[in-house]
Symmetry: C2
């Protein structure tokens, strides 16, 4: 039966590469069957357990735990006794070249460096990033296990300095053709990427390359950039950058669906770039393939396909925005529940906030269905409206009254009606609706869009109905996709000011200081970038109490959460 031996090294700092190399070295020793060298977090202890490397040690999350399984107890213990020698060998190998010991020293050594790449363990990462910002450097923050509070603080500080923090947990970027962290080598070209998603960015960039397209800049933001607490700080900076970048003609934005207000801000920023933007808000469908200059993709590969297609057919997205006066809002008065639902689905990101009696999210519920507020979409065929009353596809009374009500609201800029033809429906809806539309349009600063659903065989006569609606001044469409696109073209985005610009120069031929994984440094050199590696050790040897004192002395007293 196999024997197990183990050792704890309390509170000591070792970087992950050292631990991987130690584990591999232990595996080569005589009689050793398996080995683990990990920080003793609960998950890591469970993982050791799952590999049959159970060790009852009492080690804590900040302790290094080394476990060896061997055929005989003697072999296991002999391996454990080798640990110091193995760690020393590694250290010596790492110090064959002179490396600066601090960020400041590295900055002196490579003054043109405008970037700092950080991949130290999470609990040290925010401190290094703060130092980098104070040296005036942009930050690529690969480290994960950084708190949301630290992320928000860092990004706020960067915004104030005209710098960008990509990350934390930003695995990838391509800046001026140079890959940071994990990055595929791709052709250069006119497509700029912004991604709150690491492998998402890599998958899209790879697919663009495979399809013959090329990348101008690919900017990670960290997976949590679109959380309410961070407010899409990096994504908005990146959109602004690509907007200003003359080498970028198409933008791709990848993210998990952003929350509430952030969704609206990001969409507004994307619209205001004035360039075609392909969105893959993973998990959130955009009903309607395109809305103004925004193009919605169903998955990563489709995002790449659309971007390459747009890059190959250059055209300035026509913005029909015709904001006349103070009218700003959409009022959708639907007879079809599913059409109302699809309108909410398609528009909710772009027209934010949206109010409706067919909400997809609780926050969208219209308080009083009888009175619209802001952008409002109503299903007038909903149960609440049809007790003792004919469906609005048969009886237009309710819609006529509501149409007048919305037209009398000075906030209404666009009214959208669906008209569903066919058996069973009103024999001539245009005869009743068109005069009311004509009357409403007297206001002058109002647009009325009619989406007619029907066929050329329908008893009402599709062409005749369309003609009547056109004649009264409405814009007529025969599908919801086109109609929603027109809604967005008519309603301009909110004019939130852009953040202070991050200079484009830092994105031309980046030079970088690397703190953490040496493989990232080696990769920078291999790509021909100027780079310097810092021989980083945690402040105060990783001692939390001493670190806090040091941080205080440097004036960085923000609360920091160890992870």
């Amino acid at each position: 039966m196999a024997a197990i031996a183990s050792q704890i090294r309390p509170g000591a700092y070792y970087d992950s590469v050292v631990l991987m190399q130690l584990q591999r070295a232990l595996l080569t020793l005589p009689g050793v069957l398996d080995a683990g060298a990990v920080m003793a977090t609960p998950v890591n202890l469970d993982l050791l357990d799952a590999s049959g490397l159970r060790a009852e040690t009492g080690a804590g999350a900040d302790d290094l735990l080394i476990v060896v399984k061997a055929e005989q107890r003697e072999a296991a213990e002999a391996a454990i006794n080798q640990i110091d020698a193995l760690l020393v060998r590694r250290r010596v190998a790492g110090e064959t070249e002179f490396l600066p010991k601090s960020l400041e020293a590295a900055a002196h050594q490579l003054p043109e460096a405008d970037w700092v790449l950080i991949s130290v363990p999470g609990r040290f990462a925010a401190g290094v990033a703060r130092d980098a910002l104070r040296l005036g450097k942009n930050v690529f923050l690969y480290s994960n296990n950084v708190s949301l509070e630290d992320e928000a603080t860092l990004k706020r500080e960067a915004l104030g300095r005209g710098l960008i923090v990509m990350g934390p947990d930003c695995g990838t970027a391509i800046v001026g053709g140079i890959g940071f962290g994990f990055a595929n080598r791709t052709r250069r070209g006119p497509i700029g990427l912004v991604a709150a998603s690491g492998t998402g960015l890599q998958a899209v960039a790879s697919a663009i390359h495979r399809l013959g397209g090329g990348i101008s800049q690919a900017l990670g933001t960290g997976g949590r950039d679109l959380h309410a607490g961070v407010g899409a700080a990096a994504a908005r900076q990146a959109l602004d950058l690509l907007r200003r970048d003359p080498e970028t003609s198409v933008i791709v934005l990848i993210s998990k669906p952003p929350e509430g207000e952030v969704a609206g801000r990001v969409a507004a920023a994307a619209r205001r770039t004035g360039k075609p933007v392909v969105l893959n808000l993973i998990g959130l469908p955009g009903s309607g393939r395109s809305l103004g200059n925004l193009h919605f993709a169903g998955d990563l590969e489709e995002a790449a396909e659309i971007a390459v297609r747009l890059a190959n057919s250059p055209r300035v997205p026509a913005d029909a925005s015709s904001s006349k006066g103070s009218a700003r809002y959409l009022r959708g008065l639907f007879s079809g529940g599913t059409l109302a639902y699809e309108a909410v689905l398609g528009l909710q990101i772009v027209l934010h906030p949206l109010h409706t009696n067919v909400p997809l999210q609780a926050s969208q519920r219209l308080e009083d269905p009888l009175h619209s507020t802001g952008h409002t979409i109503l299903d007038l065929g909903a149960d609440q409206f049809t007790v003792g009353r004919l469906h609005p596809m048969i009886d237009n009374d309710l819609r006529l009254r509501r149409l007048r009500q919305e037209a009398n609201d000075a906030g209404t800029a666009v009214i959208l009606l669906d008209v569903v033809l066919g058996e069973g429906a009103h024999p001539d809806p245009a005869a009743e609706l068109a005069p009311a539309i004509a009357e409403a349009l007297h206001r002058g600063d109002l647009e009325i869009l009619v989406c007619v659903i029907g066929t050329d065989l329908d008893p009402q006569g599709l062409e005749g109905q369309i003609e009547k609606f056109r004649a009264c001044g409405a814009r007529v469409f025969t599908g919801l996709r086109e109609t929603l696109d027109q809604v967005v073209r008519l309603l301009p985005p909110d004019a939130e000011p852009w953040p202070a610009p991050v200079p484009l120069e830092s994105f031309r031929a980046p030079a970088a200081i690397n703190v953490g994984l040496e493989s990232f440094y080696e990769s920078l050199l291999a790509q021909g970038a100027a780079a310097v590696q810092v021989d980083w050790r945690p402040p105060a040897g990783g001692d939390e109490r001493l670190m806090a004192i040091l941080a205080k002395m440097k004036g960085t007293s923000e609360p920091r959460q160890a992870s």
Copy 2:
């Protein structure tokens, strides 16, 4: 100043058409400015209020309230005094032809009728539907405001009798070329529709027609059919019917995203039809455009486009299902968080239930990330796995151990790995992973799929990596969409038995009894269908207490909720 007069008619039943006609007639009387004739529900009272037809009356939800606004008090009161005459005129007009007074009498008059269309007010509708089922008729239940309990009971009863209940709140169907309720006139053809969505069905049917395609059958189910309480009873019957229908070669299924277990059952039924099925689960994206015979559409128009394309390129969907022995489950071991997320997104409906550490819904959360259960998708780069450990894109140790663990689980049928190449990543992942894959494949009843993300410029060499993975017996893909498609082809759907078949004969040239809106009866006749209209009046004059006694006498003692 205008004057208002009103009248209450407590507890009386009038159908909605009568009320609409009364209201219109009142508007034509001298001096009348506006009028309303509605059941006095809270929403209807508010609507009157919004139209300036406020009347403080104390009327309740079961009372008819008639309000007239006129220039002078006398005119308003004169109009109110006309109500009886106006209602009588209407009654007489309706009785110029002989109409059966009951469902039974109508069934005698038109014995070939295999359908009953019901559009009476919601609180009476379930009773009529129950009567129809007991006469052996299929039911098209247009009425809304029917309780979910009644819906479940009715559909259960129908299942037991080999009949179908479409609805409640089923606005539309096309059965054997005849439109029921609201229905667009469309070309006949090979595309069958199933829709828990009324205008959704109409929009897709119209778009199919516009694109040159045609419809075999279009079957509504009512918007709540996919609720957990109803269990997709009608949708599964409809899928079974279209599966057996030789005239249907492509199926379209439209619905809001179904809940938990129902999602899995519907998806399994769709897969087991053996025909291409286009799904538009509104609001739920299917990452990956197609999974086996399932094709996911982003909106209604895309559903039509895909269906027409599939109908024009007939091919039997190749089902690679290779269920060998008891192995049934997918185990996805991802290094890329976004790829893991997209896999969950794409597969969650088809492989149900799905367990993961990157859940989209709380119910998907994998209890113990160290042990897979059923279909499991893991992001091994998640924070919990990377404390004091290199990312799995650099260090394969964690994935190698987990790969062995999954291969040793007899339930595992398919293991899916992503391999992300590029700068910063492991210099030769295949060198470490391929031997472990080869070893795992010794099991014989296991498939291993590798999704390689990278470009031909990447330092690892894309082709060389692919070659190594192929050589060890893995199936290799270069995009997630294709990979997920293959996963689904390899894993057969759950073999839940089909419901008792609803005979296809009822869907060839339907004859129908109509109870409720006469316009639906007229529409049936106009389309050349055999039909009979019932001169329906509510049992016991609409008196709730008497109705309960009558129902008891007929043995229909199920609880019924008035709405």
